[in-house]
Amino acid sequence: MPKVTFIQPDGSAETVEIAEGLSVMEGAMEYGIPGILAQCGGGCSCSTCHCYVADEWVAALPAPADDESGLLEFAWEPKESSRLTCQIHITPELEGLILHVPEQQI
């Protein structure tokens, strides 16, 4: 199972294994990663599963669809590397993925 690392705003990091096919958000829920709320449960409707993808990983992910981009533009302090973790699906290529959890979601 690919390993994914979540880095909190205070710098603390947690690396977890997420099964292929699940979303990064679902993995975060399974391990109770703080700071990812995922209120709509992966429906791409709430923006509360926002994270920043580490720079070196941005290009490895398929570009966001318009509904995701629309939510992200108004997320808390969006950046070029912002993504909704419910829209990132785990594949073997994502082994080692690193994400930064924002200070708040909304």
């Binding site: 699940l22 829920m29 109770g32 449960g41 429906g43 709430c46 629309g70 108004f74 909304i106």
Partner: protein, 408 residues
């Protein structure tokens, strides 16, 4: 002795209360009592992706079973709370066990209103609240079959859309003059009527169902149309979605004050300081809107759960948020924020024909709500604008050359 918190109801709000208590550093015992025999799961996909077979069952659960073990949450999915003795601070569970609590959280949710008319006991008439309900519906959903949905609310319309996409013949019967009458403005009702009709759903308003008939299983739905004539609509199955009632019986029996929902304050505390209530079962004050509300939404369940958990650990957090909700039907992603009731002007941005628009509701020039179809930016911008009671010129709101970012 460590403290004990007992949570009655293991749904979205009950499950979140347990999760949030641990996140807030609560060190006492947590006993999470459910009545469905399952760990807490999400209901929204039940009428959407799960009904359509696009989401596996395991992915509905809020957390995997192992989470409750590692977090030392004593999850008892088969332990309905039958009675509360407030003086002794004890609850009685199904099976007779009696447990003491320091804090009790009522998260009993709501229950579908039942339709009692001739024939309502026939087979293949369903309600949609639980995973078991949907598994039963899915077992009967086959392309070519005739489904009648009774009730044109969000759940009914989502079921209609999902079933239509699965190849069933779908008819929606709504007794009121318009769809979504309790929850949205006439403009949106009209839009959804057209949206369903143009995608092949036979939607009828002013259609009051009077009886079901058939031999063992349902075969015909009888209803009275707007012209007063009786109609007989063939049906292989029916799904009834005519609203829910808050599950207040446990609270009422315990003598807590209730008013179409368990009455709570902004800290989610009931009339007994040791007892909180969260989620669909509550009626609560909204300081931003200046009125008391009962909501049936995931946001409300999650945020009230967090509020109660914070207060239990001694942080006097208040629940004060602008309500928001979503609904997915066909290719239409609806996102709503605020409460439009009482508006005196509506401003449209975008095109209804293209299924790409937002409606902004104003009262005395102030923005009070938004309904956005395939318009995440308008929805998100309003979530920021609504708490500030923003005053925005209608001519700016409808002008697509001005990005929403500039309105904030």
């Amino acid at each position: 002795m460590p403290e004990t918190t007992i949570i009655a109801g293991a749904g979205q709000a009950g499950g979140q209360t347990a999760i949030s208590l641990r996140q807030a550093g609560y060190e006492g015992k947590i006993i999470l009592c459910g009545a469905e025999g399952l760990p807490p799961y999400q209901r929204p996909p039940l009428s959407k992706k799960y009904l359509g077979g696009e989401l596996e069952r395991a992915r509905l659960f809020l957390r995997p079973q192992s989470f409750y073990e590692t977090q030392e949450i004593d999850l008892r999915p088969d332990s309905e709370v039958l009675a509360v003795d407030r003086a002794a601070r004890k609850v009685t569970l199904e099976g007779g066990e009696v447990l003491s609590y320091d804090h009790l959280v009522l998260a009993t949710g709501s229950r579908p209103r039942s339709l009692t008319i001739p024939g309502s006991e026939l087979a293949d008439i369903f309600y949609l609240r639980t995973l078991l309900d949907v598994d039963a519906i899915r077992g009967r959903m086959e392309a070519g079959r005739q489904l009648v949905v009774v009730g044109g609310g969000y759940i009914g319309l989502e079921v209609a859309a999902t079933a239509k996409q699965a190849g069933l013949d779908v008819c929606v019967l709504e007794a009121a003059p318009r769809l979504l009458g309790r929850v949205t403005a006439p403009e949106m009702s009209e839009y959804y009527l057209e949206a369903h009709r143009s995608r092949g759903v036979d939607v009828r308003v002013h259609a009051a169902v009077s009886a079901f008939s058939g031999n063992h299983a349902i075969e015909v739905v009888e209803c009275k149309g707007s012209d007063g004539l009786d109609e007989r609509i063939p049906a292989d199955m029916a799904v009834v979605g005519i609203g829910v009632s808050p599950a207040t019986d446990l609270a009422e029996k315990a003598g807590l004050s209730c008013d179409d929902g368990i009455s709570v304050d902004e800290h989610c505390r009931t009339s007994d300081a040791h007892i909180y209530a969260v989620g669909d079962c509550t009626r609560h004050p909204n300081p931003i809107l200046g009125r008391r509300l009962r909501l049936e939404s995931v946001q409300n369940a999650i945020e009230q759960a967090k509020t109660a958990a914070a207060n239990i650990v001694g942080n006097p957090l208040r629940y004060e948020q602008i309500p928001w909700f979503w609904s997915d039907q066909f290719d239409l992603k609806l996102q709503m924020a605020g409460i439009s009731e009482g508006y005196d002007a509506v401003v449209q941005r975008g095109s209804m024909e293209a299924d790409d628009f937002a409606l902004f509701y104003l009262r005395e020039g102030l923005l009070i709500a938004v309904d956005a179809v395939n318009r995440p930016r308008e929805f998100m911008a309003c979530r920021k604008l609504l708490p500030e009671r923003a005053r925005i010129e209608p001519s700016r709101l409808e002008d697509e050359s001005i990005p929403m970012q500039e309105m904030i």
